[in-house]
Symmetry: none
Subunit: 423 residues, 2 copies
């Protein structure tokens, strides 16, 4: 069974707000085993909305419409949808009473246009809205169900959970399960080439790759009659991916980010981490510190943007800066060593590079970044060449630093080199 989303709102078409309702509803519907092939955004305009609804109702089994149920003149969703579905409107007494109580509770007087919200299409299932004055609506036609939900997320989400999800679950017998294999240190095209044969032969489960900055995610999705059978379909494919990508896989958990996998690795080995950043200027620390519970792992870090700060705070030698420059393997290494000394952490990462737009030379172009990682004094330095604008280069450097940190800790503690375990 498939579902289509129609989000109504001029503010979406103007880009004033981001369409988080679409992401929320899509994810929920996928979890219920419904395929979503189309999402449309249309403004508060009767004709255009009617056209979009007509198209959606022809090609989809379920149409979820959100927004435009408010009390103002602009709000046309319910009237338009009723017309397209051939339903008359009537005053729904329980909704009128609910609106009265809602205003009484807030100590406010309803205005005349509030009663518009109690007008509902004949024969519709009415969904209670405990968080606002617009009730939800389900209209059941022969080949299609049309579901109208209020636009504000704090009204839409509870209504979906309480009323819509159970209704949708009752319509379908299929369940979808998906698992994401997250990989660092392998480029997107290389990763895709490595799984091309699996993608080519895919039917159920399906396999898709997603490129992120410095990472590739491979999502495996299966559908079956129940959760257990779907999970059983996923298992051998995920196992095969693990065999192919080895230690480049940092997680197969949905909510684990690259930074969280590094923090988890540090926690597991009882390690503290510190960062010394030049061109990334705090971005690496900021990503690590976004992991809840980071306080056991990260105590302090420094941003040393100037040469003087590199010398004074990290003890980088004046001669090193003079002979090799601030963006060099040698400086990165000394920064990592100095960072361990001042923080007394177990692991340090230092980043120094040329993020541009200025400051590049033929020998040291914009995008050249050195990343050093020291695990208890054992220093590894990596030279990277990133492309893109200043921010892209910095983001790439941060992802590479996390991947390097992960690799160095793994190697130090398990004698693991990427892809194989040493005997």
């Amino acid at each position: 069974m498939n579902v289509e989303l129609v989000c109504v709102g001029t503010e979406l078409l103007l880009g004033s707000i981001v369409n988080t309702n679409a992401a929320y509803l899509s994810e929920k519907c996928a979890g219920l085993g419904l395929s979503c092939y189309f999402q449309t955004v249309v403004g508060d305009n009767g004709d255009r909305l009617a056209r979009v609804l007509g198209t959606a109702m022809e090609r989809s089994d379920i149409v979820i419409v959100c927004g435009g149920l408010g009390p103002t003149e602009d709000d046309l969703t319910k009237e338009t949808a009723a017309k397209v579905c051939g339903k008359k409107m009537y005053l729904h007494e329980p909704s009128k009473k609910a609106i009265e109580s809602f205003f009484a509770y807030k100590g406010m007087e309803p205005t005349d246009n509030n009663w518009k919200q109690a007008m509902l299409p004949e024969g519709a299932i009415v969904l209670h809205n405990p968080n606002g004055t617009a009730p939800g609506v389900i209209m059941e036609m022969k080949d299609v169900k049309v579901i109208l939900l209020p636009g504000p997320p704090n009204e839409l989400q509870p209504m979906f959970e309480e009323s819509v999800a159970p209704y949708l679950a009752s319509l379908t017998a299929q369940v979808i399960c998906s698992q994401t294999v997250k990989i660092c240190g392998v480029g997107e095209s290389k990763a895709e080439t490595m799984v091309m044969d699996l993608i080519d032969g895919q039917t159920n489960p399906t396999i898709a790759t997603y490129a992120k900055t410095g990472e590739v995610h491979i999502r495996v999705t299966a559908n079956a009659g129940d959760r257990k059978s779907a999970a059983k379909l996923l298992k051998p494919v995920v196992k095969e991916l693990k065999a192919r990508f080895g230690n480049h896989i940092y997680t197969t958990e949905e909510d684990v980010t690259l930074e969280k996998s590094v923090v988890d690795l540090a926690l597991a080995n009882n390690l503290t981490i510190t960062c010394a950043e030049s061109c990334t200027g705090g971005m690496l620390s900021a990503r690590l510190i976004n992991v809840p519970g980071i306080s056991e792992v990260y105590k302090s870090g420094v941003v040393t943007y100037s040469n003087k700060a590199k010398r004074k705070l990290l003890g980088v030698k004046k001669s090193t800066l003079q002979k090799y420059g601030a963006v060099s393997e040698k400086t990165a290494g000394e920064m990592a060593k100095g960072a361990l000394l001042i923080s007394r952490a177990d692991v340090s990462v230092a980043i120094t590079g040329i993020a541009g737009p200025d400051g590049g030379t033929e020998e040291k172009p914009v995008g050249l970044v050195y990343i050093a990682c020291s695990v208890k004094g054992k220093v590894t330095v990596k030279e990277c060449r990133f492309s893109g604008n200043r921010n892209k280069i910095r983001e790439s450097a941060v992802s590479a630093a996390l991947a390097l940190m992960r690799g160095c800790i793994l190697e130090y503690y398990s004698k693991v080199t990427f892809g194989k375990k040493e005997s």
Copy 2:
């Protein structure tokens, strides 16, 4: 002239990511005076994409398609769009060379599927992508232009700014001028209330408000036969906004961010800046350091996440931490003072707060953040209460810190208090 957006990606239909490209493109198109009536999201599926493109090309003057230009099998956008537009594909040598250089620079080998990205529709305008391997494409038909852009925002946005915006501007005889008045330190609903009368009466210019984290942008858009006339229409409205929001306006320039306005203010007053961050963990420094040419202003900063680091690196008193706690006005103030001492900067900002999800109490709930700013020793501390998840709270704190820094520097140097000048 109207524009329609088609965003391609199974990850959007699965709700794995939020459609920020749609919001970005809508806002930019509105700024260019283009009306957007429809946005559609469709998956990486040739048939469905072709149907959506067909519908869009019938009803709109310009169709912007984003996503699905990658090197993998999944990526069908270019091939499908070319087919719908009746264009053959050919190997575009400059794009092939660009891909070769991209990989050579990275010291990597392109895989076979990378060359797919150099295959382009005949007769198309090719848009250079300095941040990735997928070139953008413009296909010009008699009644409709179809523009294909890469999906990753860090590739799409620079390409839009550099190539698409000037192209779109060239299509219309009407000249659209817009100016954005950027405001910090005033909430969204307050700002909206303050301009409601202007919005209600709007025809030309139009006025729209956009809420950003810790900021509100008010865009004024006028259209006229030539640039001079459009600019003339803008002038009185922008003047009125300046009168209403006073010093809360940090810029009216398109490319000036809040952090750039702070850096410019520091440069103008010959000041250096340092940051001492706890819960934001480097985010403030990272935002400042994203401003090109920051090296004159920012030399060093520290991330002091643990109490020990606050004491050792910044000299916060043990008794202060014991009596008032790490998240307190007093600790924030001492952090700011200590930061000036170790960095020898002129201005310091310190942030300490509870970003959650854990660590909140009734007295000090999640979202409580203290921000201190010292300008040459004169310390101001602000208590803030933010809502949202960990990352949202941290982003809000960073924006508030930039606004505070701006306010404190202005006050110190010009005796300006917000909204009025002291006599």
